[in-house]
Structure formats: structure tokens, C-alpha cells
Amino acid sequence: EAGVAQSPRYKIIEKRQSVAFWCNPISGHATLYWYQQILGQGPKLLIQFQNNGVVDDSQLPKDRFSAERLKGVDSTLKIQPAKLEDSAVYLCASTLWTSAGEQFFGPGTRLTVL
């Protein structure tokens, strides 16, 4: 089966600019996650979708971050405006149903904010 796809792979922007990331999960996977991984730290969950509904977004900085999963398939994560501390790798993952199952990760998008 095809893996989780993410684009772009790399992005460099200046602070206060906007940026969007795209994720296409494995076909048929109901649950989709966005993680932020800052250098030297583990992945931190930003938002979790079950189909097109939000299950958990308690750690999403909602004043600047937004995410959607229209039609319950692919998803976009947006940052507007970006800050220096948003520099990180943004990982997308999916599971067949619940998070008790294996999470399949995409390659990540490395964001650098200057």
C-alpha cells in the first residue's frame, strides 16, 4: 500500500508570513494526526481527526494554527502568522481506526522560520 504523503518536504519563510502543509493519509485510514517535532524533542500532537471530525486539538495554538480535513481524506495544516519558534518538522500520521493501532508516518515537512 502507498504510504502517507506530505508536501512540501522543506519550506523556508520569514516570520509573520503564512505557510500551509498538506497530508494525504493511507487510503481507508480514518484517523489522521498532525505532530510538531522541534529539534531534540519528541513529536508533540497538535491535532487529531477521526474522519472529518476533530478528536483532540488541545495543544494546537489556535491563534495562529488551523487545520482541516475536508471529506475525511487529506488534510491541510496552516500557520498564520509564523513565529521563529514554529521552526520544526511537521509530521502527519494515520491509523486505520483508533490510536491504539499502529501509526503510519509521513516523511515530514521541515519548516524554517527566519
Binding site: 504510504g3 524533542q41 519528541g42 508533540k44 487529531q48 483532540d56 490510536s99 499502529e102 508516518f105
Partner: protein, 107 residues
């Protein structure tokens, strides 16, 4: 809920035993996982406690009394060099990862 991996770096010689520590805090019954990231590869599942299987010679036992889920291998190989993350999923489905341990197996 919280996952702690006390060692950022761990270095062993080939053939030596290795143990990567993971401690968690969670009031319910957690699902626990070990994920691994080899150089220039994606993060991938190594093993999970509910399956109680050995993958690539690694095992991990859930100790609810000590709230630990340490990863062990009796004889480390050079190809085991990678970043290892312990992860917990709550009853509500929320995932929490530790900050990872970089394992280096020296020849």
C-alpha cells in the same frame, strides 16, 4: 499523561545487551508503543505492548507497578543504531511521545 525517556544518548558495543528506558504517568490503562527512526527513514512502529512479540530481537514488558515500558535486546547489532521513541495512547485516543533516545552501537 506523560512519557519520560531519561537517556538522550546511549552507546553500546556490538554484541552487548541494551536497555532503553521509558517511564510513563497515566491514571488509566495505557496502550504503549516503541517507535524507531533509522537514518533518513520515516518514524515506524517497532513494537507495542498488547502484541507481546519480539521484533528484530527487541522485547518490552509493561510494568504497571513501576509505570515503565523498557525496551531490551540481549545482543545489540550495528544496524540497531537509530532514534527510539516511547509512546503512550490514552483511553481517549490521545498520543504522547517521549523525547527519544539515540542509540549508537559501536563495532
Amino acid at each position: 499523561q506523560r512519557v519520560t525517556q531519561p537517556e538522550k544518548l546511549l552507546s553500546v558495543f556490538k554484541g552487548a545487551p541494551v536497555e532503553l528506558k521509558c517511564n510513563y504517568s497515566y491514571s488509566g490503562s495505557p496502550e504503549l508503543f516503541w517507535y524507531v527512526q533509522y537514518s533518513r527513514q520515516r518514524l515506524q512502529l517497532l513494537l507495542r505492548h498488547i502484541s507481546r512479540e519480539s521484533i528484530k530481537g527487541f522485547t518490552a514488558d509493561l510494568n504497571k507497578g513501576e509505570t515503565s515500558f523498557h525496551l531490551k535486546k540481549p545482543f545489540a547489532q550495528e544496524e540497531d543504531s537509530a532514534m527510539y521513541y516511547c509512546a503512550l495512547s490514552s483511553n481517549a485516543g490521545k498520543s504522547t511521545f517521549g523525547d527519544g533516545t539515540t542509540l549508537t552501537v559501536k563495532p
